[in-house]
Amino acid sequence: MKSLGNIRRDFAPWNQPDAKPYIQFKNITKRFGDFTAVNNLSLSIYEREFFALLGASGCGKSTLLRMLAGFEEPTEGQILLDGQDLRGIPPYRRPVNMMFQSYALFPHMTVEQNIAFGLKQDGMPKAEIEQRVADMLKLVKLGQFAKRKPHQLSGGQRQRVALARAVAKRPKVLLLDEPLGALDKKLREETQFELMDLQQTLGLTFVVVTHDQEEAMTMADRIAILDKGEVMQVATPAEVYEAPGSRFVADFVGNINMFEGKVADRNGAAATIAGANGLTIRTANAGDAAAGTEVAFAIRPEKIKVSSKKPESGDNVMEGEIYDIAYLGDMTIFHVQLGNGQVVKASSLNATRATEDPLSWDDKAWISFRNDAGVVLTR
């Protein structure tokens, strides 16, 4: 698997100026009556990319996927796949295949017949179909279930049949609509890695729709975060998490503490932010926020350290009181109430079995973080 890892590590066509996008959404708008599901959206996806559309329900992510599959036509705009305009091409002539949220396995056909269905539509010779179906069954490890009907399979097996059926035709793009939504947590985690390996093995472009940020973060090369039919940010999982572009993205992905305030003073990239009730935050990078701008300083809980004694040094040190403690086993989450009343979330990894610095409810506590631990958000 090392070779796959290397491919994945070097894969970043979106940073190469001469790379040609494989799928292009150009100013797509989709209206259903008065409701605008997708609003003037543009997006580029590259060949062999594992791309995730992430958003809450009703954000337009499924509509986007259905427009790519051909079940909906955009009201305005253009979708290009490998340079070809998809407008007016019915779903049964598009070189994309979809894995449905409900799996949509044909109940009156066996596993084998389900997988062969798409190949038969292409008029593939019988011997070749048999070979391909056998390959697919091997790929998803369902060889001994070939003759079963969908209702004789468990949820995880059904999911794999749906996957095998969708990739059997070797589509240019595989669309996955909440592919793991119906699986339980443990199975979901296993399947995430299986999907990633499968994508690398087959060398296909995957576009996955999900509302589960963990799923998107684990699997995708890049994530597009959607809200109300618009793209909020497109970036790699690490960028989305560590450098969110707006308050919405910062809040949507993972846990975060937000300090609303004003840029008081700028010194090169560094700045001082004056928050509510005399709170002062020093940051090493304030981006393009000029002095006097209303900003939010956002910092992830794991980047804040909690201690019972005042740290001897630190860029940002604040005094507070333990308000709540949640012990999760692998980590503990502290809610610390600061002097100004704001509650800050801080998490610390339980790297040893015994806690060196025990903290309890209502204890006095100090929080501290480095000046490069957070981001300054202007939007």
């Binding site: 019915p90 949509a104 109940p107 539509q121 079963r148 097996q157």
Partner: protein, 272 residues
């Protein structure tokens, strides 16, 4: 809840079933009566069954009934299925609610009115009453039953099955015949059986719309009964009851077995 055999429970069941089945049991018993007098027991005999098969009038009527039943049930199933598809699929046209309601209306329409209006129509267009008008009338009233049965299945039909088929390269017509039709087939078959049953035991509408040479079995029996009940009629009815009972029991046994098998499969799948 008390599920034991209390005296009240037993009484209620005996009374209820007696009320339902006593007349039928009497009819069956008297069909084996030696005596020609229907209400007087004269010993066991099967002679009325033999004479039944030599009664050309009854046999002709039975043959008409079966032919009308098969043709009208088949055509009603096709039309009813199309109506159900249109009403569940094209949800955006104006007046859909009105149309859905209108499909149900014939279900509660008094048969006399349906029969009379059909008669008026046939007279108005100058269609001679006979086998054709009879069949048309049966299609008319049984079609809406089929539509209702198929519609209730289509409401729970997962449309993503059709989308999946199209996504995999099947054009709409192919998708319908290879995916939609096989999946809703059980409902269509139930609809056909319902239409067939309604057709073979209809009397009122048939009386209005039939003509010379197209007398159905219920019409024949009714006209003979007016001249006096004969044990022959009892025998004919007993055979009808037998056919219906065998059909119903077979259908429910098959269903039951399929259900049990399905449950067993699903449990096995969850384990393995």
């Amino acid at each position: 809840m008390n599920s034991s055999w209390s005296r009240f429970n037993i009484t209620a069941i005996v009374l209820g079933f007696a009320f339902l089945y006593l007349p039928i049991v009497l009819l069956v018993i008297f069909s084996f009566n030696e005596s020609k007098l229907v209400t007087v027991w004269g010993g066991f005999s099967t002679k009325w069954y033999v004479s039944l098969f030599h009664n050309q009038g009854l046999m002709d009527a039975a043959w008409v009934t079966i032919r009308v039943g098969l043709i009208s049930a088949t055509l009603a199933t096709i039309l009813g299925t199309l109506a159900a598809l249109a009403l569940t699929r094209y949800t955006r046209f104006r007046g859909r609610v009105l149309f859905s309601g209108m499909v149900f209306a014939p279900l509660v329409m008094p048969e006399v009115i349906t029969g009379l209006s059909l008669l008026l129509l046939f007279v108005a267009v100058g269609l001679d009453r006979g086998f054709v008008t009879l069949t048309l009338a049966h299609i008319t009233f049984s079609m809406c039953f089929v539509a209702v049965v198929v519609q209730s299945r289509l409401v729970t039909f997962d449309r993503s099955l059709e989308e999946a088929a199209m996504d995999l390269g099947a054009p709409p017509v192919k998708t319908f015949f290879q995916i939609t039709l096989p999946v809703i087939l059980p409902a269509i078959i139930s609809g056909w059986m319902l239409a067939f049953t309604l057709s073979i035991d209809d009397l009122v509408i048939s009386s209005f719309t039939s003509g010379p040479g197209a007398t159905t079995l219920p019409m024949k029996i009714y006209s003979q009964v007016r001249l006096g009940v004969t044990p022959e009629i009892n025998a004919a009815c007993t055979i009808l009851i037998g056919i219906v009972a065998v059909g119903v029991i077979a259908a429910s046994l098959v269903n039951k077995q399929r259900e049990v098998q399905r449950l067993r499969d699903e449990q096995a799948a969850q384990r393995g």
